[in-house]
């Protein structure tokens, strides 16, 4: 043990302290990623200082609508989740799996060795922690482990943020995933803005988190700080933009595979795939093989895929899910029902992205509610209306 004081389980830091936190993580060799305002949205990208963060911005979200607006304070985290999730770093949209070269003596295969960029994620929301935990289960558990994901994931330092505002399409309370970060972080911040102070309550979630905190200026947390933070989080929880009734949801959906609502939603659905792209838990990829003109080099790349494409369910003879209704049903039943059979939890963390970023504003909570309102008992699982 060195002679530094054992860090407290909770502490208070200032806005300058957040700046020190970013600098400390960079000093430790992390690639520091966090929210920044760009192209009219809050996106996640490299940040070097507090001035790179969307200070004083908030977002207005509804089904198919998103807009940044000014706040009347200087909050650093005064918005909900944006179009992107941390998925884009841990499970990138495109990845080369291997390359091969024709040589004098045959074929040389070169598989890129996954290198850790030692990510530090700043401002990870409770729903996003759950989404990361879900992708951990998908990629790291079971017989087929995605090693590159594991390498990127193992060194990631996570600074969570407890949400101080609920977005217009958020429903983490329904899904039991937020708005308070319970686990899966190194440090968790709650932003407290009062008349005379702007501070962050810091909770320590790991030894690494404690060590980083020890290197930035902090005060011990007082009882009133903890109460203030709890009040903020309770207020967020009480103001969710959406709600999803989850009782018996799996059985409800799996028992209504021929419900007329699937046709109704198909009339609106563009099968554009946006919902799956923005969903922080959707993990599907396709692999493409490319060869060059001379036939000397080839490579296999992996790219995000979506169950809304025809190729996704293509087997000999054609696509299994020809109709949009069957594709929308695949997406929604996978998220909310068969995910539970497959991985033991829901595949939805209630972040609301699929609702906001659907170009025609299709709302998964409204679709589930429509089926619940008038269930049409049907048990024909094999009824794949193509």
């Amino acid at each position: 043990m060195d002679d530094r004081q054992a860090p407290p389980h909770r502490a208070v830091i200032t806005v300058e302290g957040v700046g020190q936190l970013l600098a400390e993580l960079a000093t430790r060799g992390h690639r520091v990623l966090g929210p920044t305002a760009r192209d009219g949205a809050i996106v996640y990208d490299d940040i070097g200082a507090v001035s790179d963060m969307p200070q004083g911005w908030t977002d207005r979200q509804d089904a198919g609508r998103y807009k940044l607006e000014r706040r009347d304070d200087d909050a650093l985290f005064g918005y909900a989740v944006g179009p992107q999730s941390w998925k884009k770093f841990l499970h990138p949209p495109m990845e080369t799996i291997w390359r091969s070269r024709r040589t004098e003596s045959g074929l040389a295969i070169d598989a890129p060795i996954a290198v850790s960029e030692k990510f530090a994620f700043i401002g990870v929301r409770a729903c996003e922690l759950h989404a990361i935990a879900i992708q951990d289960r998908v990629f790291l558990e079971g017989p087929y482990v995605d090693k590159a994901y594991g390498v990127r994931r193992q060194d990631a330092f996570i600074v969570a943020t407890n949400c101080a505002v609920a977005g217009g399409t958020c429903f983490c309370v329904s899904m039991g995933t937020g708005p308070k970060a319970q686990s899966g972080f190194d440090l968790a911040l709650t932003e407290i803005i009062e008349d005379d102070r702007h501070v962050f309550l810091v909770e320590v979630g790991s030894d690494a988190g404690a060590d980083v905190l020890a290197h930035i200026e902090h005060q011990p947390a007082a009882r009133m700080d903890v109460i203030a933070a709890d009040t903020i989080i309770a207020h967020t929880a009480a103001n969710m933009g959406r709600e999803m009734e989850t009782t018996g949801l799996k059985e409800l959906l799996q028992g209504n595979l021929t419900h007329e609502q699937w046709e109704k939603v198909a009339d609106r659905c563009l099968s554009c795939g946006n919902c799956t792209m923005v969903c922080p838990t959707c993990f599907c990829t396709t692999v493409e093989d490319h060869s060059d003109l001379a036939g000397l080099n080839a490579e296999r790349v992996k790219e995000w895929d979506s169950c809304f494409t025809q190729d996704f369910s293509y087997i000999h003879g054609g696509s299994v899910r020809k109709s949009t209704s069957s594709r929308y049903r695949q997406w929604m039943t996978h998220k909310l029902a068969s995910w539970i059979d497959q991985f033991g939890t829901s595949g939805c963390v209630g972040c609301g992205r699929c609702v906001t970023w659907c170009p025609v504003g299709i709302d998964i909570t409204a679709e589930a509610a429509a089926i619940r309102a008038a269930p049409q008992k049907s048990s024909v699982v094999a009824d794949a209306r193509a």
């Binding site: 998103y66 179009p83 554009c272 946006n274 490319h290 979506s306 025809q310 170009p359």
Partner: protein, 258 residues
């Protein structure tokens, strides 16, 4: 390495602007490799060399707008083992298919001093309306990387990796924030991928250059456009560009007056 005989390539032009053929010439870094892998037997835009058919691969640009071309494409097909159409003109009739919805004689009279010398069909139609086509590469113009992919795939006798899904998937993979959700009408959700979602990356809605995607729902998208404030004329015009004759752009455009 002993040189196996290279497959023979021919490039043909019908009613078009030459932009898609130029994509091939634009492959500067790859031109040598291309010339090494394939014998460019007939490509008037690039070379005076003309080697008689048959050809292993024909790339066809342009649409059919004259009786003469309607015959010529049959000759091209007969001489080609594999025929790939490139670009919106060849795959959908191009912007010149706007004539399909007007009186072509009026155009001729308005444009030419001596209309009696003009011999043209009343319609502009895609190559596939005249002869069987082995593969269609969309775009106005086509994407040169996709063209190289198609040629490389042909040479390796594999399937070309050309996705038929929406532009949105490319847009999201690229990390662009959706412009439509921020209030700008975009054709991306009904448009065939291929361009890499360039326009949204520059803050513009997609113009639909690559034509309809595999399962387009234009009616739903246009309902949303209306909610975003697009007029009937905006929608009519947006759907009537380079791929005007492609369904469902055509049918949907008819439901919105100019």
């Amino acid at each position: 390495m002993t040189q196996a005989p290279r497959p023979r390539l021919a490039v043909w032009k019908f009613a078009s602007c030459d932009g898609c053929q130029l994509s091939l010439l634009d492959c500067e870094d790859e031109l040598l490799a291309l010339a090494g892998a394939i014998e460019i037997a007939n490509f008037p835009e690039a070379s005076r060399t003309f080697i008689e058919g048959p050809y292993d691969l024909s790339l066809v640009e342009g649409s059919i707008t004259t009786a003469h071309d309607a015959e010529r494409i049959k000759m091209v097909r007969e001489q080609s083992k594999f025929l790939i159409t490139i670009g919106a003109c060849a795959t959908a009739g191009g912007i010149q298919a706007l004539r399909n919805f007007a009186d072509v004689d009026d155009f001729v009279a308005a444009v030419y001093a001596s209309p009696q010398y003009i011999s043209t069909l009343k319609t502009s139609t895609p190559i596939s309306a005249h002869v069987p086509v082995d593969f269609e590469l969309h775009g106005c113009p086509i994407n040169k990387q996709q063209l190289l992919e198609v040629i490389s795939a042909f040479l390796a006798q594999r399937k070309p990796q050309i996705a038929a899904h929406s532009v949105c998937i490319e847009c999201k993979r690229r990390g662009t924030t959706c412009v439509m959700v921020q209030g700008k009408p975009c054709l991306g959700p009904v448009t065939h991928a291929g361009c890499g979602a360039i326009c949204p990356a520059f803050g513009r809605g997609c113009y639909g250059c690559f034509g309809p995607m595999e399962t387009p729902n234009a009616a739903s998208l246009m309902r949303e456009w209306q909610l975003l404030g697009a007029s009937q004329r905006d929608m009519h015009r947006a759907l009537r560009t380079f791929n005007v004759a492609a369904e469902p752009f055509l049918t949907e455009s008819k439901t919105h007056g100019d």
